[in-house]
Symmetry: C2
């Protein structure tokens, strides 16, 4: 069995043991690109090494022979080796490696002759630093020996190499190996062993890569960019990695073993000026490579005394914007198909293009951070209540609303503010949901924020600020900054439009939006929504209307309640009418009231405090006492599992009845206006088929009562495990199912999302006890299994059953892949996620085109 092959002309079937780097070098060589001479060591050797703790029999002999033939073939060069990992996936940076292997008195003398004694000394220091790192010598002890220059530049002027060598021997209790082969053995063992390092394991867990793969190793002769001023190191891209423009870009640093900066010059202009022949050679290589690989390529190269050496070529990193432009340009040029273009873009990466962000390069350190609740960055003056946010917005001022938490009363403030920051509440809190619905950036649950509404001040950890002071929030990361940082607005991209048009042609899943207001629905429609999959009617119960809702809840007087209900009905008719108008001709799924009633009452603590104050002031407290009793009555120990959803409608039928009447009246008015209203009513938190029947009967009665025969589609939210398990019963009474994956995840996993994120979910993710946040990416084993059971059972009795998804996961690419696989008809997501969902749905369809759909989860 072979373990070692020359990089030049390896047998074709050996390439699969080369890893990414080795394969790339062999391919470059075959294309005639100059790469340093060397050889690859098989990943099989790594696996055997990890199993038994030593190299497999015969491997070392092959390595020795390969080193000898390198030395024989290149007598003019010092025998110094680069030893680098070559794993099959992009994780080389997490694994070990060594440079300058072979440094000893003999080779240093040869190096001094080849270049200069100073150069030899620098190489020696570079070698020793690598050994120190591999042997885990504490960095501060290494740094204490090296000069400032050397610390900055590993190949900088040499200092006391002897002291460093002594430190290594002392710390590792092992002498330095003198011979090239001994050093090579140590370096290879380090690389192999690094496959099992905790960081590497964690990376593989996150990326679902098996631990059993192992890494190959690439060994080649060192080439030196720091040899003289005709030498240097660089990176070149075949297209611009920032904006995707179809011209090469890169950077070259003279007399150095690596480029001095990460910024790149369009056209690689620095090299074009200083070394036109090398520049021309590079452009030609990039052009060939892009043609061969059909992708934008990056090469890492060294220029040694005027000779170009390519160390690695791989698809280049790029910004999201560049990725989209490159894919579309290549497809339009016929280099790749539209399908390939669509498949190449990471849907999650689109977020970067679609939302405002803090201008790249802005130097700023966050004051504190909280939960990333609604993407986008915003800056503005602090305001501490919704009224002031509205007033300031009317004056044209940019403000950030900062509160302990928001309630339905604050909705107008959330809309008026540029951003929202709360100290309490998780990603399903009112602030987070309202912000995502209105496209307002938000950071929630930032525990270090302490508001003092009486003194009109806020503390951010130890920093005190006052209302009006400017801050900046980043809803994509959860960071909060002092001052108004520069914001780069999201910009339209014609390439993205084109890509999404292609995606729309390929996808099978329809993409709808969660939108509660006519404005949100109109915005969603512009972003490509083919329907509204979730209109939360509780958002119609907010702001000034809360007073009416409270009268319904608080009064014992039948007539008073009837009056309040009538008022509510009239308000909702207008809401529904405008919503249906926004989405004329497209379906609008209206969810009947879902949250527990106490959400419409003031906070228990506030009422208690107000009551205490009133008593102390000797005021009349009877109304406050009544309010306190109501708040007490409606409070629950676990409201998530309490009196909400359809249960409300069973216990207090008037509220649903009023909602149904209002929706029907809105439909009639739209019909009278010659519109095309497509109302669908959705019933939340259903657990027994009897509940569904009660509401359906009520709806049928009202439809009948409405006189004119209206078509109303009625569907069931599947958000309890029982509903999924008993889906066949529900399907007989439903026109559609909509999976409420937020609640279904909470109940299936027994996790309250708002409590869990801080309390343990983060720990779980960090420690690998969960692979992904199940509230972001659907848990296939539990929640996904229930979805499969429900779809299968539902369609078996009602083949025309429409299946939708309206939880957060409806906008997540991995989850969309699953929904496509199991036969969902549409996903509904928050409007900002629409482009992501459209792209992900197309990718899922393309991926599943050839695999058998519905065959189950892979």
């Amino acid at each position: 069995m072979h373990y070692v092959w020359d990089l030049a002309n390896p047998p074709e079937d050996a390439l699969r043991h080369f890893g990414a780097r080795g394969r790339s070098l062999a391919t470059l060589r075959r294309l005639g690109v100059p790469v340093p001479p060397g050889f690859a060591v098989s990943d099989v050797a790594c696996r055997r090494f990890l199993e038994v703790g030593e190299f497999p029999a015969g491997m070392w002999e092959e390595v020795v022979a390969a080193v000898e033939s390198l030395a024989t073939a290149h007598p003019e060069r010092p025998l110094l080796l680069s030893v680098r990992s070559s794993p099959p996936v992009a994780m080389a940076a997490l694994l070990g490696g060594a440079l300058h292997v072979g440094v000893n008195d003999t080779s240093l003398a040869a190096l001094a002759r080849w270049d200069s004694p100073e150069f030899a000394a620098r190489v020696r220091i570079g070698f020793l630093r690598g050994v120190a790192e591999a042997r885990r010598v504490p960095l501060h002890r290494v740094d204490a020996i090296l000069s400032a220059d050397q610390r900055r530049d590993p190949d900088g002027p040499a200092a006391d190499a002897v002291a460093l060598q002594e430190l290594i021997v002392e710390e590792s209790q092992r002498p330095l190996a003198p011979g090239v082969l001994d050093q090579l053995q140590e370096a290879m063992e380090t690389v192999f062993a690094s496959w099992d390092d905790e960081a590497a394991r964690a990376f593989r867990r996150r990326n679902r890569i098996s631990d059993d793969v192992g890494t190959s190793v690439v060994v080649h002769l060192m080439v030196f960019g720091s040899a003289d001023t005709a030498s240097g190191a660089g990176v070149a891209f075949s297209r611009d990695p920032q904006d995707g423009a179809p011209r090469p870009a890169g950077i070259f640093t003279r007399n150095a073993s690596r480029p001095a900066s990460v910024a790149v010059y369009p056209g690689l202009d620095d090299l074009a000026t200083s070394d036109p022949p090398t520049h021309a050679e590079l452009l030609s290589i990039l052009c060939d490579l892009e043609g061969a690989e059909r992708d934008m390529m990056r090469i890492d190269f060294v220029c040694e005394r005027g000779d170009l050496w390519v160390l690695e070529a791989r698809p280049g990193e790029r910004s999201a914007r560049a990725a989209v432009r490159i894919a579309v340009d290549m497809a339009e040029a016929g280099m790749i198909t539209a399908e390939e273009a669509v498949l190449r873009i990471d849907p999650d990466g689109l977020d970067e293009m679609l939302h405002a962000r803090i201008a790249p390069g802005t130097p700023a350190v966050p004051l504190i951070s909280g939960g990333a609740a609604s993407p986008g960055a915003a800056s503005g003056g602090i305001v501490l209540d919704a009224e002031r946010a509205v007033a300031a917005s009317l004056r044209g001022e940019a403000v950030i609303l900062v509160k302990r938490e928001t309630t339905p009363e604050d909705l107008a403030g959330v809309i008026a503010a540029r951003g929202v920051l709360t100290s309490h509440g998780g990603p399903t809190s009112h602030a987070a949901v309202a912000a995502r619905g209105t496209g307002t950036p938000a950071v929630t649950g930032a525990a270090a924020v302490v508001c003092d509404p009486e003194r009109r001040t806020v503390r951010f950890g130890t920093v005190a600020m006052s209302e009006g002071d400017p801050i900046t929030i980043d809803g994509a990361t959860g960071a909060v900054y002092a001052g108004a940082l520069a914001i780069e607005e999201a910009t339209a991209s014609s390439e993205l439009e084109k890509l999404l048009d292609w995606a729309d042609r390929f996808r099978r899943l329809d993409v709808w939006a969660n939108a509660d207001t006519p404005d949100a629905a109109a915005h969603a429609r512009r972003m490509g929504a083919e329907g509204v999959g979730l209109a939360r009617t509780e958002y119609m119960f907010s702001g000034g209307r809360l007073e009416v809702v409270r009268r319904v809840i608080l009064t014992d007087d039948v007539k008073e309640r009837a009056r309040a209900l009538e008022e509510l009905e009239e308000l909702q008719i207008g809401d529904f009418e405008r919503l249906l108008e926004s989405m004329d001709g497209l379906p609008v799924v209206v969810r009947l009231l879902d949250p527990p009633l106490h959400e419409f009452l003031p906070d228990r603590w506030e009422v208690d405090a107000a009551l205490r104050r009133a008593r102390e002031a000797g005021q009349d407290t009877s109304e406050l006492e009544q309010l306190q009793a109501a708040v007490d009555h409606w409070s629950e120990s676990n409201p998530m599992l309490g009196l909400r959803g359809v249960r409300l409608a069973v216990v207090i039928p008037e509220i649903y009845r009023v909602q149904v009447l209002a929706a029907l009246e809105a439909v009639r008015r739209r019909l009278d206006a010659r519109g095309d209203p497509r109302l669908e009513l959705m019933i939340p938190l259903v657990g027994t088929v009897e509940e569904l029947r009660v509401i359906r009967d009520m709806i049928d009665e009202e439809v009948h009562y409405a006189g004119r025969q209206l078509e109303v589609t009625v569907g069931t939210m599947i958000e309890l495990p029982r509903a999924a398990l008993a889906a066949a019963d529900f399907a007989l009474e439903s026109d559609f199912f909509s999976f409420g994956t937020n609640d279904l995840t909470q109940t299936t996993l027994g996790i309250s999302r708002d409590d869990a994120e801080e309390a343990f979910l983060r720990t779980y993710l960090e420690r690998g006890l969960m692979q992904r946040d199940p509230f972001t990416t659907l848990d296939r084993q539990g929640v996904g299994r229930l979805i499969e059971i429900a779809i299968e059972a539902g369609r078996s009795v009602n083949p025309g059953l429409v299946i939708g998804v309206c939880g957060e996961q409806g906008g997540d690419p991995d989850s969309i892949d699953f929904f496509d696989l199991v036969g969902v008809d549409y996903v509904s997501c928050s409007p900002p996620r629409l482009p992501v969902a459209r792209l992900a749905a197309a990718q899922a369809a393309l991926r599943h085109k050839e695999s058998s759909r519905h065959a189950g989860v892979p």
Copy 2:
């Protein structure tokens, strides 16, 4: 097609259309027992009638012919008919019926001749009362016409029949039919139509009887117990229905159409004295019937002018105690098999024998009522805190602990009190669970109870009482009474012992107990428990130990925490040691800590109030502030779905580690004492297999560390839907599964038990939106399905996997039937339910013996 048959000698295949009453009369007649001449009308006729609203073709002609042949055969008797429903199951009382059908001028004249004009007048009144009821004339208007005597005795002296007849015509807007056939038609239509009455439908829903069955009707000549003083009416039982003694019992009332009381005389002594020949005839009939039916029988009879007529015979109602004695006596006499004896007893009925109850016949009206949380009745003086309960109990006083709610601090008080009454909290509140665990009667969540611990008074609705005043509570009904009512203690029964011994021979399921303390475990063992299926270690963290637990939670000082943990470990070693000693040789499943930590901290309101008081008094508040911060830190919006169970162990590993160490040390000490400890460790609220692995690794490490190789069985609680769906993964890492059906029901149905019972569950049950309380009887469609999925998946990868159930439903007969069916190995229930569970398990095994086990749910 025939619809009508004579009760004498009907064809055998017609009997299935007779209903229970008709079949019984035909059988009696065949045995030579005197029954009134008559005929049965088929249930098929009823079904057709309900479908199309009229009698099926040909039926009425058959009825007319049958009536004519009755008249012809019995010319000596007035032609008056009894028309009664004869449904296939015991629900005749819910359906219609009519007596004295045929009353008109002619028949009344004949009746006057046959007996007396007064008698005829009484019969007329009786007839009219029946018509008034069938035509739904308001009872108060009927009563306004009748004299007091007539209201008491429907066949009492007659008053103004004319006025009553006018009222009926006026109210029903329909004249009275004059002829016997017209009246018969109206009576039969009333009976048929009553099948669809709401009460009848509700009964069938509760008892899972199809609505499509319909009822038969029995028509026979009236016989009159009120004819003269040689006449009368009675009820006789073949054995004593109170205590089951093997001697007849009954009651006979002279000159009446029904017996005057429900109390029965042993030996039917009143009749034996007054009419020895009839008494002898009755005893002979009862003896024959019991022999034929192989059960204790009841007959309803009339003595008319010295002639005995039996109106009905059926298995007699009996007390639970009598049922047990009769079944055992009959089995020992060889009349029935032991299997039959076991199958005849309603397991839920045993509760009546096993707990103290308010002495039957005690006249008392409840003050208020709450949730029936722990069965049994108790009386005693009110005490308002646990300390006083303990002190009073040491003085030998009987007390009832009355509080807003109890916490782990109050455990000693719950044990010391005769009963517990709380104003807050449902059936899973601390008070309810602690009371059931210690066998203390309890009523919880009685909202009308308002305690004032400062004034030492309690209000029960409008009634004010003081500490020390006597009250009585009934934990089986939730009723609370003023004063100390007479209590009848539970008494041992040798027949029950025997029956349970037989049950133990038949059952396949093992029956274990939930027991947290050595005393409870010892008690459970005496009651037949074959193991402890759930020892909740949080009960070791109560009373005086709370202070230690709080130190663990509250301190930031590592050393201080370590000291507190060490103290806790020492305390728990003793607990575990005594528990294992109590159950020596039997398995003891110890559940590691489950509840969220805030349960061990004081109530948020109390801390707030204390802090306010301290501030007002100008005291040092730093400690209280620290406590408030901790309470705030650990508070959750949905604690049921929060940081509890295994999640605690992931975030704060020390607590589980200490519990494991303590348990292992207890095992070692028991081994040193030559005991046979069978410790099993159980991990609660597991949702991902990674969680399980973390804890298993920790346990393995500690077992290893313990030096001596201890055998420790480790199991997973399946109480989240995800755990059931991913059971195959868990089964590979588990020795056993234990279904925590309380939590599994909460998550599968999305119902917080404590919130739901009051808020909507009661409404759901009343309105038939749920058939049974899912926290009492397992929901087969949802929770049951998950259990099936988990067992199948678990056993498929680990055939030796032991399966237990430790939720409340583990003691419920219907649920036990399901657990037997799907292959559970043991159920664990609260100690008072052990006899119920043993019996129910035997019945399930006997029922499933011939059906194919594991074939799925019927």
